[in-house]
Amino acid sequence: MADSKPRSERPLSPHLEIYKPAMTMVMSIVHRVTGTALYFGTVLVAAWLVSAATSASAFETVHGFMGSWFGRIILLGYTWALLHHLLGGIRHFIWDTGRGYGAEERSFLAHATLAGSIGLTILVWIVAYVVR
């Protein structure tokens, strides 16, 4: 629409603020938040690859940052966001087939997404430390 002014005049239906946070709702929001975090996190991935393609010293700089305690915290968060978004996506695939819409199923899927993402993140980091 060309005319965007009247929007501010119209009252919004009450939405987020009137509901008690439910697990399914929180996981839905987290899916979008992790997606956004991954979106901006791709800068780090690109910087890392471009540095490797540029010079040894550039790579050591980026690799050194990733290995620092601050870099590791970012990478830990990135790992969790990635795995949570991945499992959240699988939840959407299940819903796409028309299954998993019952109250108990939805609750189970929401909890499984969170538990799975935390569990897998720990697993990935244990493997990373063992391999190193």
């Binding site: 690109a46 040894a56 959407h92 190193r132």
Partner: protein
Amino acid sequence: MESSSSMKTPLKRVRGLGSAKSGTDHFLKQRFTAMANVPLVLIMIGVVIALVGKDAAAAKAVLSHPLVAIPMVLFFVSEMIHMRIGMQVIIEDYVHEEGPKILLLALNTFFSIAIGLSSIFAILKLSFGA
């Protein structure tokens, strides 16, 4: 909406694809790239783990191996599309002013392509370059 006197057949009306003019194309691209991303992301995690503690020469040896470089290039193609579509939905949900919305949608496209192609370029240079 079509009026009752429309000359269009129901099939034609379905193919009109609604106000967005793109039908389910957006939804399907999101899902297909998501499908591709599942195995590709797992490979990416494996590659990063393999590079922990490696120096530049060793990292280059890993990243330039075809069995690593090919899935990585595939990942960035899929990811570039997926992240652009995802952020587009977020922008359309929250930004209603026409000017800022168009600007952000443009920046979203530029950002996604720039990130994706930079990463792919880097992988190709590691594979073919000196």
